[in-house]
């Protein structure tokens, strides 16, 4: 058979999670890391603000507070054992990054510098706490670079620009994956004992998004087609501050450094919604607050955006208003230069894309689709679990944004995702290598590439009546408008109907490029298929959940309902439809209570 | 944290090889040529160039303080212009310029020729060329 490779462990995706998994797995097993992008182009590189760990380098902090904040942030849907595990491991994990050379910003004492972020608090006073370790506003970039470099140092095997199309199951166990090499259009079969998915999220299903073009939910969709369920897909995070219309993210770090949100009337509105932490409430709260302002006519120019004000004089004024001080007690001020040093890229984005200079002008912002809380269900070792009783699928692992551990529950706290990548990427890598050491290879199916080939053939042979770009545009709009920040029964029904039509129209799409070499049209069209599948699951799970919780806010069911809905959704693709079941949430120390910031 | 400690590398560890020596050599010879040229021009002015030479001739002398370069000017007596002192200055400038120029040619060649063999050939030819030009140049300076 042509193009068959054999590895103990195959990692799909080379973002933070994939690289961490690859690094650890390669120490104990023959490992390949496969990615459709060059590793350094993964979306982890876009992460700006920071990675959390309760070091207390600047003020008192402890992992228990981090745990509680994350549980509360998740609106009590996160599994508390996993959250506690992650928060306890956090300091060690971040130190490990430092030891790998990651250039964190420093405190005057030479330790890792930390900044406040939404939802991170001192549990005694309720005030924001500095927990996010950062390297300017390109923390993710530095994590991605550092991990890639460490992988090179440790001679990890990479297959760059290979798009994974299919997951092979034999005897109900992992047998490998099929990928296409973008440069040649050739199929490759990777025969493996264990496969780790780390393919990132699917934010591209929404119109206004901070996510990369590559965020098409490939990993989730292709596993879904192979009978693996997806967990909590209705929970999607909308980040409060995206650049108006473009969706490019303005990190919460800007508010951490003292920026505030201002409505069309020039008022600071967050104190109304979150009296204690104000602009640093968790993201779902802030995004909803912005939308409420807009819907009540207080958007800027009666339009659908608000201001983010980070001009040095405003920062000083509002800090004085909030009684915010430096650790030594002096009043908190930030000069233009300091702001430029702390968030240089954000300032650059505003200047390039808006022609606005944040040092002297306010930034027009609007909530933007940002983070996939749901995904491939796993336990805290990265093992994929496929039913209500958490049965493990042998040899299949997932980590990072494509996975749902669930540490983020219904709403992820800022900086917890990068932490998630590092902690669970590592454990998935370790577990997979351990598994590969004792397991045998399953035989490959007779024609492993048949399904992938068939999928491509279908895209090549469509009637050509429909245009893939139109379908993409419409899908994004439907999802953003009807399954976005605010949702209701009618809208979601409509969305599902429209998605059905779009899926039907997708059958008539025809790829015009007949070539093999870099047939990006073909690959992108295949990705559209994934997005449609994922969108359908998101919409149906959201319609089913008749309550509001975290990132899922229903206008028709505005309250959280713990008695009926304190449970995880599991969704399977069955007979062309979606089957939904539920599984319990793990609650250890923190019984659910009302969430106020 | 050793805030004050400055990091530095000993001579053998800083990558100071022939390549980089020649790199700094090019800059230093550039400065040296400036110095010598200025020196020659000032010398010319002291020796009365202001009345007897036009600007172009002064410059020509400046770039190579060699008596034939003032032959076609109104300078009455070539004596002071062809002293051993000026011949030494001229020789210095010649050697420096030749080394600088020939190495410049090597630099250009290295941009385009990357095989070790090719590069070595270029170096061999260059050294031969440089020696030849230096000798001929010295011969011209000291016999004119």
């Amino acid at each position: 058979m042509p193009n068959v490779h054999q590895f103990d462990v195959v990692v799909v995706g080379a973002g933070g999670a994939g690289l961490m998994a690859g690094l650890y797995s390669s120490r104990g097993a023959k490992t390949a890391v496969i990615s459709k992008l060059y590793p350094t182009r993964s979306h982890t590189g876009a992460a700006q603000g920071g990675i959390s760990a309760a070091f207390g380098n600047l003020e008192e902090d402890k992992p228990e507070w981090h745990t509680y904040d994350s549980v509360k942030g998740s609106d009590y849907l996160g599994d508390q054992d996993a959250i506690e595990f992650m928060c306890e491991e956090a300091p060690q994990a971040v130190l490990e990054l430092e030891h790998m050379g990651l250039p964190f910003d420093r405190t005057p004492e030479g330790r890792i510098s930390q900044r406040p972020f939404g939802g991170h608090t001192n549990n005694v006073t309720g005030k924001p706490v500095r927990r996010a370790c950062h390297a300017a506003d390109r923390t993710g970039h530095m994590i991605l670079q550092t991990l890639y470099q460490q992988c090179l140092k440790n001679k990890v095997t990479f297959f760059d620009e290979y798009q994974v199309l299919d997951f092979l199951i034999v005897n109900r166990r992992t047998a490998g994956i099929v990928a296409v090499e973008l440069a040649t259009g050739e199929f490759h079969t990777f025969h493996a004992k264990a496969v780790i998915f780390a393919t990132g999220g699917h934010g591209r299903i929404f119109e206004v998004t901070s996510n990369a073009y590559a965020y098409t939910g490939d990993g989730a969709a292709l596993l879904l087609r192979r009978g693996i369920p997806l967990e909590d897909m209705e929970f999607f995070q909308f980040h409060p501050t995206g650049i108006y219309k473009l969706g490019i993210l303005i990190t919460e770090g800007v508010r951490g450094e003292g920026g505030v949100l201002i409505n069309g009337k020039g008022e600071r509105f967050m104190p109304k919604y979150a009296p204690t932490v104000k602009d640093l409430a968790s993201r779902d709260v802030v995004s909803r607050a912005i939308y409420t302002e807009i819907r009540e006519g207080r958007g800027v120019n009666s339009s659908n955006y608000v201001w983010l004000d980070a001009r040095p004089e405003s920062i000083a004024r509002y800090a004085a208003e909030d009684g915010r001080t430096n650790p030594d007690g002096s009043p908190y001020v930030l000069s233009g230069e300091q702001l430029l040093a702390k968030v240089p890229d954000i300032i650059d984005f505003c200047r390039v894309y808006l022609g606005v200079d944040p040092l002297t002008q306010m930034m027009p912002t609007q909530p933007t689709a940002h983070y996939t809380m749901g995904g491939i269900p796993t336990n805290k070792f990265g093992e994929v679990v496929i039913d209500e009783s958490n049965a493990v699928f042998p040899g299949l692992y997932a980590a990072g944004e494509c996975a749902c551990v669930s540490v983020h529950g219904a709403n992820r706290l800022g900086t917890n995702s990068l932490l998630d990548l590092i902690v669970f990427g590592k454990h998935a890598g370790l577990k997979a290598a351990e598994y590969a050491q004792q397991a045998d290879f399953e035989p490959l199916p007779p024609d492993p590439q048949a399904d992938s080939r068939a999928q491509f053939e279908k895209l090549r042979n469509g009637s050509g009546k429909e245009n893939a770009f139109d379908i993409t545009t419409e899908m994004k709009k439907v999802m953003f408008d009807l399954v976005g920040i605010y949702r209701n029964e009618k809208g979601m029904q409509e969305a599902i109907t429209k998605l059905d039509q779009l899926k039907e129209r997708f059958q008539h799409v025809k790829v015009t490029d007949r070539g093999r070499i870099f047939n990006t049209e073909l690959f992108h069209t295949w990705e559209l298929g994934n997005m449609l599948d994922v969108s359908e699951v998101v919409a149906k799970c959201a319609l089913n959940r008749r309550e509001s919780r975290g990132g899922h806010s229903r206008e028709d069911f505005p309250n959280r309902d713990d008695s009926d809905w304190l449970k995880h959704t599991l969704a399977w693709q069955k007979n062309g439809g979606v089957e939904i079941r539920y599984k319990p949430v793990v609650i250890t120390k923190y019984p659910p209570k009302e969430r106020v910031y | 944290m050793n805030r004050s400690e400055s990091r530095s590398l000993p001579l053998t560890k800083r990558g100071l090889n022939f390549e980089m020596l020649m790199w700094i050599f090019t800059r230093l010879t550039a400065l040296a040529m400036y110095a010598l040229i200025l020196f020659a021009i000032i010398g010319a002015l002291i020796m009365g160039a202001r009345q007897d030479m036009n600007l172009a001739d002064v410059l020509r002398w400046g770039f190579m303080p060699n008596s034939p370069h003032v032959q076609s000017t109104d300078v009455p007596d070539l004596g002071p212009w062809s002293t051993p002192f000026w011949r030494i200055v001229a020789s210095g400038l010649l050697l420096i310029a030749t080394a600088h120029g020939v190495h410049g040619l090597v630099v250009i060649a290295d941009d385009y020729i990357v095989t070790p063999r090719g590069r070595n050939t270029v170096r061999g030819i260059s050294i031969a060329f440089m020696l030849m030009m230096s000798f001929i140049g010295l011969y011209v300076i000291w016999t004119s």
Binding site: T40, G101, P108, H141, Q149, F518 | S8, L9, G15, L16
Partner: protein, 235 residues
């Protein structure tokens, strides 16, 4: 406004020669060039191929020549370059299809400078971070910004002449480690950079610095390395 997009085209499976295609359509002043390319791909010719991912200048996928100069298509707006736009692939790398070039030689050069943190000394006694003052951290901040987009290396006249030259991007990466007070392999890296294919091939043409979408002062970084080789000072 009306834009005219003239795009370099080459499909190895059908074309014998390169050619240019021109597309006219309505666009916004605030559209990214990347948006225009997506539009052409979506509605004029699906076979047009180029790389892209983040769409806001942080992943380094879509460096290309726009009106004759290297830029990221996602970081340039129509209003920055006007309505007559010529788009061509990067120079000095094999053209695989349309705007897609073979990045392997570029990454090979990157891998030559030991692009990873090296410190084999024991950790501090408390096993916590290796301390570094804010000033020491600031020393190499500029070169940590590199996203490996290759805009610099493929704008360098020496790299056009030969891909043996490490190129500015690889040198920038070496710089990031050499001036990191925690790293211990400065000598090895300087040794590599001092070879004939290293910093000596830079003739301060500044094309790299002016092309860098991350505004890294590349030529300065290269200059600092050259002087460190002469003086041995790493501050």
């Amino acid at each position: 406004m009306q834009v005219t997009l003239k795009i370099f085209r080459y499909n190895p499976e059908v074309d014998k020669k390169i050619h240019y295609e021109t597309y006219n359509f309505e666009a916004q002043e605030t559209d990214r060039i990347l948006d225009l390319l997506e539009h052409v791909k979506g509605y004029f010719d699906g076979t047009l191929s180029f790389r892209r991912s983040c769409a806001h200048g942080v992943c380094g996928s879509d460096a290309m020549r726009i009106n004759g100069r290297n830029m990221l298509a996602c970081k340039v707006l129509v209003r920055d370059v006007g309505g007559q736009i010529t788009i061509e692939p990067l120079l000095g790398l094999k053209i695989q299809k349309d705007l897609i070039v073979d990045m392997e030689p570029f990454f090979d050069n990157y891998k030559k400078v030991l692009p990873w943190f090296i410190n084999d000394s024991p950790l501090p006694a408390d096993e916590r971070e290796r301390l570094q003052s804010p000033q020491q951290r600031a020393r190499f901040d500029d070169t940590t910004k590199c996203i490996l987009c290759a805009a610099c290396t493929t704008s360098c006249p020496t790299f056009w002449a030969n891909d043996d030259y490490l190129g500015p991007a690889a040198i920038v990466t070496a710089h990031r480690f050499i001036y990191d007070s925690r790293d211990e392999a400065a000598a090895e890296r300087l040794h590599i950079l001092s070879e004939t294919s290293g910093v000596a091939r830079c003739h301060t043409a500044y094309n790299c610095t002016l092309a860098c979408p991350r505004e890294i002062e590349i030529t300065r970084a290269i200059g600092e390395l050259k002087m460190s080789m002469i003086t041995g000072k790493l501050d």
